[in-house]
Symmetry: C2
């Protein structure tokens, strides 16, 4: 795999300064649209306006919403609960809600992501519709990266596809990376040392998620801006085309299986234990 | 409470552009140090070097590590497991680990935070010691804010105290806000509408956590930089002194009680159910 890292002229500041901006003016994305072209046009006109051209080491961040829209991942709103069911691989936890609302379902979806409503989205889409997550956001990220590398003549370019998710034990939502290309999605410092020379044995920073979270601060939910650029994380950005340049993708950030201590919600696990315990011979 | 928001001259770009930088050169922080003065000196000398003076609407981000060091929250390393036990209010989940390592404990600590090892930290501290989290990071944030408002003559100033934490279902760690002052810690859009005029009924962005995550990208674990400044989120920054200007703090980001669907790890909840089920009369 190509080594990520800053290049001459970029190194002194890379890592110590980060700038993100969110260009405005992307037209409504519709099924079948060439998303790479639309966003490329946005970036180009933004560059004309501001003088800030896409550069080596930049990361383009797009919401999964516009990827889904372009890919036609739209279903009728009346089918929202059915859409969630269809996207559900495994139910993790369910909470009843007042006021006639359907229960909140936290589930594992096709992408291995554990999210409320399987990631099905009813905001920022035309009335009467909901959006599913992209079929394969890593693949989408790779296609976007290839198109923009060619269009802008950039070798080292990262792409992150974001979605918004809640977290256990914390109020509020943050954006995370559900797709990525051209980026080391984690900063794996295992085997490295800290400033005191002690081993950083468990420090694996989820760089792609941090970039996603930072991008939400410039995009904002109410404004509907769907694209951001992050400049200053070039040390994580990969060069070259194909698998080596694309990297492992955001799928590598999904944790499951025996390492998942929260595979079931507490109430669900308790209930299952209760049933099994009742069946145990005395 | 003072209304957060951009002021004249700042509004056009606020929200669409975000810059973070991490000044270098903070001396090792020791128990009893005046942290506000040390970090203030760092910011002042960085401003002399770069011309970038702290300005209205800026947010200063500091790691909980340096707050803990200044507050003397240091214990001997041999007592790490005991320190974790002492900081534990409630055990959430435990995972055995190979190689003679003590089990990984995910627990709720005094601050209501659910974290591995109760937030006890063995990296970036002198050999033979571990660090506890600050006694009350919101209080620490408020004190820092008051000192810097006075020193730099700034009315609208935010402060975030960060710590690094893992997440269920995702690899890698991100930084979150464990203390905050002068900041709306969530961007509560409930009651607002999206670009289509549809109600944003569940969208509450955890702004303070997003700022914390973004700051990690410029601080970096291996470099040991403990301070960052975020410019461009002024719309979330509060004005004035005292409780109105300080805001609710990061404690308001802690979710617990009946809304916590993952109060126990799956294995723990299952085992408890199994025991209770075994005791049920037939």
């Amino acid at each position: 795999m190509s080594r990520p890292g800053p290049r001459q002229g970029e190194g002194a500041l890379d890592g110590a300064r980060l700038t993100l901006w969110a260009p405005d003016g992307l037209a409504e994305v519709r099924p079948g649209d060439d998303l790479a072209a639309l966003v490329g046009d946005l970036l180009a006109s933004d560059a004309d306006r501001s003088g800030d051209r896409l550069a080596e080491g930049d990361v383009v961040v797009v919401t999964s919403k516009i990827v889904s829209k372009a890919e036609g991942r739209v279903v009728r709103a009346a089918d929202r609960e059915q859409a969630i069911t269809d996207e559900t691989v495994r139910v993790v936890a369910v909470r009843e809600r007042p006021g006639g609302l359907p229960p909140l379902r936290i589930v594992e979806n096709r992408l291995g992501l554990v999210m409320a409503a399987a990631g099905v989205d009813a905001s920022n889409t035309p009335e009467g519709t909901v959006l599913l997550l992209p079929e394969d956001p890593d693949t989408s990220a790779r296609a976007l990266r290839a198109a923009w590398r060619a269009r802008f003549g950039i070798d080292r370019l990262g792409v992150v596809v974001t979605d918004t998710a809640g977290r256990p034990w914390r109020e509020g939502l943050t954006d995370i990376a559900v797709g990525a290309a051209g980026l080391a999605v984690v900063d794996d410092l295992r085997g490295g040392t800290d400033a005191h020379g002690r081993p950083l044995s468990v420090t694996v920073a989820a760089v792609a998620d941090e970039i996603a979270a930072a991008s939400e601060l410039v995009r904002g939910k109410a404004s509907g801006r769907a694209v951001a650029v992050a400049r200053g994380v070039g040390r994580y950005v990969l060069a070259g085309h194909g698998p080596q340049g694309d990297g492992a993708g955001a799928r590598s950030l999904v944790r499951g299986g025996p390492d998942d201590l929260f595979r079931e919600g507490s109430a669900e696990a308790y209930a299952r234990g209760l049933a099994d315990g009742h069946d145990l011979p005395r």
